[in-house]
């Protein structure tokens, strides 16, 4: 991962991957900055020295995101239109209780926001978790966790996403009717079985190819959503991409 790629104009870009995942920091209005590496970090990385802790309940956690980067309108991080791929390896470790049954969990992997990963200001984000008690499939609460892609749209009306549940594509309908404001949200929920919370690494991918927005877990497409419009990110002046939660060394 040492080679710096270049973009179409020949500019050097820096990896945000490998051992340095989320190690870049953007300081803005005292809201951002974080470390991901830590001598107390107990987990070896997927392919390198260490991974970034993104779950909630560690003593090493803070509410600071690991990483923030400018994603101004029209900028390099603007994925409101066009294809994109946001991916990472996720280690689903056993909890302090040593159980492989995690119960409902919820933690953020990345998100576009004005002021950081805070629920009130996010526009689109990828997270692991569910809503209360489990994922919500077509009117039924399931106790399955999932990789969730929350999208904010610029159009309203009924929207249908699909989740792969027990090998069957289950439609999930959202009424993205306006109440106020201009952002209408849907969720793409890629179910993850409890058995897959197995103290091991899993590749998680959030991607868009043409009109299909999809979430992959372990290389398998588990949720998708056909939508031709723009996503509501980078449509302001302070939208930034944030990755995970950071933590302050103790």
């Amino acid at each position: 991962m040492a080679v710096k790629p270049k973009d179409e104009t020949g500019r050097d870009w820096n990896w945000a991957g490998g051992d340095n995942a989320a190690i870049h920091n953007q300081f803005e209005e005292n809201r951002l900055s974080a470390h991901i590496s830590n001598p107390n970090n107990p987990q070896a990385g997927k392919f390198g020295a260490d991974g970034a802790l993104v779950s909630h309940s560690s003593a090493y956690q803070s509410v600071l995101p690991c990483f923030g980067a400018l994603a101004e309108a029209g900028g390099d991080l603007d994925i409101s239109t066009g294809d994109f791929c946001i991916a990472g390896w996720l280690f689903l470790g056993y909890g302090i209780g040593g159980s492989s049954n995690p119960g409902p969990v919820n933690f953020l992997l990345w998100g576009y926001s004005r002021y950081g990963i805070q629920y009130g200001t996010r526009y689109i984000n990828g997270r692991f978790g569910s809503t209360e008690g489990g994922a919500y499939f077509g009117g039924v609460w399931g106790d399955t966790n999932g990789v969730v892609f929350d999208t904010a749209l610029l159009t309203d009306g009924l929207q249908t996403t699909y989740s792969l549940v027990n090998g069957v594509w289950v439609p999930v309908t959202y009424d993205a009717s306006p109440v106020e404001g201009t952002n209408y949200y849907v969720e793409l929920i890629a179910p993850v079985l409890n058995a897959e919370w197995d103290n091991d690494w899993h590749l998680v991918v959030f991607t868009r190819s043409g009109n299909e927005i999809a979430v992959y877990f372990g290389g398998q497409k588990r949720a998708y959503y056909n939508y031709a419009g723009a996503l509501s990110c980078c449509n302001g002046t302070q939208n930034k991409l944030y990755i995970g939660y950071g933590f302050v060394p103790t």
Partner: protein, 275 residues
């Protein structure tokens, strides 16, 4: 319910404009090889600070001079560390002002001559002010004076500086030069030394801040430059007391009513009579 405290993210990638995944696939068995597979990878980089060019007010390569400037580093961050606890870098540089050989298109000439006044943040977060002249790839003069900043206690991973800036000055008199920090040069034996004539630098002067230190992944501070003055004499040559910059306006009664603007350090004030 067991607590979940061991969820880690690694190998994060962000790609704009294309995606390698349009259907089920076998996860890669090694790190992403983006460069080989994707034409236009877009990754996150901190914004690169850019220097502000200034038309050279003086050729200091062979003349007496004094450069004084107030400079402020607003905060410092803890070093980002690798998993074994070792920092990924152990110092940072904040350019204050300098002059570098440039190519015809204005870009800096690799390996060119330069002089520069800058601050270096050391591994223990102490700071040194440094005036340096490099000729033909060799540093021919390097004056160093420690800088004392009354930092706040750490808040999270950053600490902030007081409002007062660091007053820096470097003077040349003949073949000698002295570097002053807050009016003092004599308390550091490395703050004075020989400065013989060097090759004239062809580039603009640059007010730099954190620019020029390259990619380090270490967050950089916001910096401020103010009261930048250049003299063609060694305006300061002995230790001096830094006086606050004063700016006042007022109306004075002379034989006729007039207005006066006074600006400068007491003892060196400049006055203009508008009427």
């Amino acid at each position: 319910m067991p607590m979940i405290d061991q969820v880690f993210l690694d190998e994060f990638i962000f790609i704009k404009g294309t995606t390698p995944y349009t259907g089920d696939f076998t996860p890669p068995t090694g790190p992403f090889d983006i460069e080989a597979n994707i034409q236009y990878p877009i990754y996150i980089a901190p914004p690169e600070p850019e220097a502000v060019p200034v038309t050279p007010p003086l050729d200091i390569s062979s003349s007496n001079f004094c450069i004084e400037v107030d400079f402020k580093i607003n905060n410092l961050f803890q070093w980002i560390t690798y998993t074994d606890g070792t920092p990924n870098i152990t110092n940072q540089y904040y350019g204050v002002v300098g002059q570098f050989d440039q190519n015809a298109d204005g870009s800096l000439l690799d390996g060119g001559n330069y002089w520069v006044l800058y601050l270096r943040v050391n591994a223990d977060y102490t700071i040194d002010a440094i005036f340096e002249v490099c000729e033909n790839g060799v540093i021919v003069t390097q004056l160093i004076h420690p800088v004392v900043v009354d930092w706040s206690a750490l808040s999270g991973i950053t600490k902030t500086a007081p409002d007062e800036p660091i007053h820096l000055a470097v003077s040349r008199y003949g073949d000698f030069a002295r570097l002053f920090v807050d009016g003092n040069y004599s308390s550091a034996g490395t703050a004075s030394g020989a400065l013989t004539d060097f090759t004239t630098i062809n580039g603009d002067w640059q007010i730099m801040g954190p620019s020029g230190q390259g990619f380090t992944a270490q967050p950089v501070s916001v910096t401020n430059v103010s009261l930048f003055s250049v003299y063609d004499t060694p305006y300061y040559w002995n230790n001096y007391t830094v006086l606050a910059w004063v700016q006042r306006t007022g109306i004075c009664l002379y034989p006729r009513i007039g207005m006066r603007l006074v600006q400068g350090r007491p003892g060196t004030m400049r006055a203009r009579l508008a009427i």
